[in-house]
């Protein structure tokens, strides 16, 4: 049996930069629609327009999960909205078999005056559950949300955590065939989050999933393949591991995109680190700085995050560095992290640079590089000889 649930062929979408134009085009589109012309016109851009998505193709079967990554404005959310049927493609074709569910906009349509129970009925109906289904699942929804006897209290007196828990609980009670996820995977506190992940895990097995995220470790965890988008164009579809590399290289185009200079003394700075290192070997990062006035770097702290789990696994702190930089450009000053004793795998590196006393944060580089740690030849293999 052919179980392809989602087929996207050559889908394009244009957006308009200026509001006035956009409204005029909207009226024009409406007129064209009424007289029965195609939505996308002749397939050309009109003045002030750009391609929010251009020629996107993919297919998805039940049980598969496609991740979508790309920088802000790459067209990820636009693609989700097209798949959800909220907006029309300007060209191309989307074919969906079965019911579409989306874990987007949790708690949409909640009315603060009404009780949690009343809002479950409304929200579930909006999401497409029939009255019978709602009645059948009501207890389950209330239990899952852990709202307790607050269920008959107006939603406006809920904590924000309770509101999203209830929203998640309703939205995830659907049994869709195609599931759209936009960043939201889990809400609430740590305990509730793990419940969310379990439920999502179940959904992942039953659905074809399209998943938008900025979180690389979630991508690792969930996605089978990853489509990288850049300015509406599809760069390619890769394994999560390769996709992250492509994504990093996209981001590297703007070197200082992830660098923040918190103190006025630094005009620009870049930090680099080798792409890979053998476990147990020494490694150094290099920093280049364009200062505004003479600065002294006193402390540098590196954090390594495991890309698979998203957890912080190591911190390398160098103090009493005394690196003085006068007003000239300082190129590639090495800062040793020391030997690295970690399991093989991919790690995301962040770094904070402080002044001499360690009080003022001069610069911060959030996830500026991915470091691959290679395991040495397993010792058993050598010794067992």
């Amino acid at each position: 049996m052919n179980d392809t649930l989602l087929k996207v062929e050559g889908v394009s979408k244009r957006f308009c930069r200026s509001l006035k134009q956009s409204l005029r085009y909207g009226t024009q589109d409406l007129y064209n629609e009424i007289v029965g012309r195609n939505h996308g016109g002749n397939g050309q851009l009109r003045a002030d327009e750009f391609w929010a998505l251009k020629d996107v193709n993919f297919e998805l079967k039940r049980g598969e999960c496609l991740g979508l990554i790309g920088r802000n404005g790459a067209g990820k959310t636009t693609l989700l909205r097209l798949l959800n049927g909220l907006i029309k493609p300007d060209s191309g074709r989307i074919e969906i078999r079965g019911r579409v569910g989306a874990l987007i906009a949790l708690g949409a349509g909640f009315n603060p005056i009404l009780t949690g129970r009343e809002n479950i009925y409304v929200n579930a109906a909006v999401l497409g559950l029939s009255h019978r289904d709602i009645v059948r699942k009501l207890d389950d929804i209330i239990d899952f949300a852990e709202i307790g006897n607050f269920i008959d209290t107006p939603v406006q007196s809920y904590s924000s955590g309770m509101q999203v828990r209830l929203g998640f609980s309703v939205a995830s009670a659907l049994e869709p065939d195609v599931l759209l996820l936009d960043e939201v995977l889990a809400v609430g506190d740590a305990g509730f989050k793990s419940k969310c992940f379990n439920r999502i895990g179940k959904l992942l097995e039953q659905c074809a999933v399209v998943f938008v995220t900025h979180s690389m470790h979630q991508l690792y965890r969930i996605a089978d393949s990853v489509m990288v988008l850049d300015k509406g164009h599809r760069i390619g579809t890769f394994s999560p591991h390769d996709a992250i590399k492509h994504y990093d290289s996209l981001c590297a185009g703007e070197a200082s995109a992830s660098a923040v200079f918190l103190d006025n003394s630094i005009a620009d700075a870049t930090m680099t680190i080798p792409e890979s290192v053998h476990a147990g070997k020494e490694i150094s990062a290099q920093i280049s700085i364009v200062p505004r006035r003479p600065v002294v770097i006193g402390q540098v702290i590196f954090n390594l995050t495991d890309m698979r789990t998203g957890t912080l696994v190591a911190e390398y702190r160098r103090t009493e560095l005394e690196i003085s930089i006068d007003t000239n450009f300082a190129h590639a000053i090495p800062i040793a992290l020391g030997p690295i004793f970690l399991r093989g795998g991919q790690y995301s590196v962040s770094c904070a640079v402080y002044d001499r006393k360690g009080k003022i944060n001069l610069a911060h580089f959030a996830n500026f590089a991915t470091l691959e740690i290679e395991n040495p030849v397993p010792t058993e293999a050598v010794c067992g000889f």
């Binding site: 009424i34 012309r37 493609p89 074919e95 906009a105 349509g109």
Partner: protein, 286 residues
């Protein structure tokens, strides 16, 4: 999950649904059916939320027509305005007129208010867009029922009792609803893109009210009487008023014709509304 029935297939392309009318009408009926549950839920939500936060509750449905009536009765009693002779006592005449007009106006405003209020939901969730309009109609119906009930009490106070013609009153209310919804829904797509419509509509409606025999009766001659007769709302208001007060409706044919045209218009604007929603959602939040 996927054992018994073959899964429904949804296809999105850039083609206009108008190009394949057969499928479009099938989809319209399907969505109409699908929005049945939801529109009821939305109406219950809005009505109960609206009245739970007020002290006077349902009485608010009456405030505007009552205030209007008071103004006109005052103007006429004090002799500032000479309205002309009415078959009914003037307060009764005005009260009925303003109540019916309020029903019509609520119906006109409902679609645009409904869609604006659900902007967030519309932009993020795909549900039958008809449900917002139908939910609006339910709410207007609910408010109309209150109005008619109060009207009956007021009529009794003034000694006017309806006869068996009263059974037709729901038909009159329905005709006001149909005409109002058709006009409101017609304005909705453009009104959502350009806020001009929302700003201009109240002014326009006020003019329209004075071109309809709401606060003064039809005259036999004069330029105004010509305009009043051309106004398709005239037969709706006049006929319903006659049914309410036991009079004989003079414009029954005209009434039926207007209803027929209004239904036709409603079908047309329904199609336009369906076509417009994806475009509007795109422009609302891009």
């Amino acid at each position: 999950m996927n054992q018994q029935k073959p899964l429904p297939v949804t296809i999105y392309t850039s083609e206009s649904p108008i190009a394949s009318p057969g499928r479009m009408f099938r989809d319209m009926l399907r969505d109409l059916h699908a929005s049945h549950d939801l529109s009821w839920r939305l109406a219950v939500r809005d009505i109960s939320a609206q009245y739970r936060q007020t002290f006077f509750g349902f009485l608010w449905a009456l405030v505007l027509p009552l205030a209007n009536t008071a103004v006109w009765v005052f103007l006429s009693v004090s002799g500032i305005l000479v309205v002309g002779a009415t078959e009914l006592p003037y307060p009764v005449f005005v009260l009925i007129g303003t109540m019916l007009w309020a029903i019509f106006m609520e119906a006109v405003n409902a679609p645009m208010l409904g869609v604006s209020a659900s902007r967030d939901m519309l932009a993020k969730i795909n549900f039958p867009r008809e449900s917002i309009v139908i939910s609006g109609i339910y709410q207007v119906l609910f408010n109309s029922a209150i109005k008619i009930a109060i009207l009956l009490v007021a009529l009794a106070v003034f000694g006017t009792y309806p006869d068996w013609n009263f059974l037709f009153v729901p038909l009159g209310v329905a005709s006001l609803l149909i005409a109002g919804t058709a006009i409101g829904l017609f304005l909705t797509p453009i009104g959502l893109l350009y806020t001009d419509i929302g700003k201009g509509l109240p002014i326009l409606m006020q003019f329209l009210m004075y071109l309809t025999p709401v606060v003064y009766p039809l005259r036999a001659e004069g330029t105004l009487s010509g305009l009043l007769l051309l106004n398709p709302l005239t037969p709706l208001i006049e006929t319903t008023r006659a049914w309410l007060t036991g009079g004989t409706p003079e414009w029954l044919h005209y009434f039926l014709l207007v209803n027929f045209l209004a239904l036709f218009l409603l079908l047309g604007v329904w199609i336009v509304y369906r076509l417009a929603m994806p475009i509007i959602i795109e422009r609302m939040s891009s």
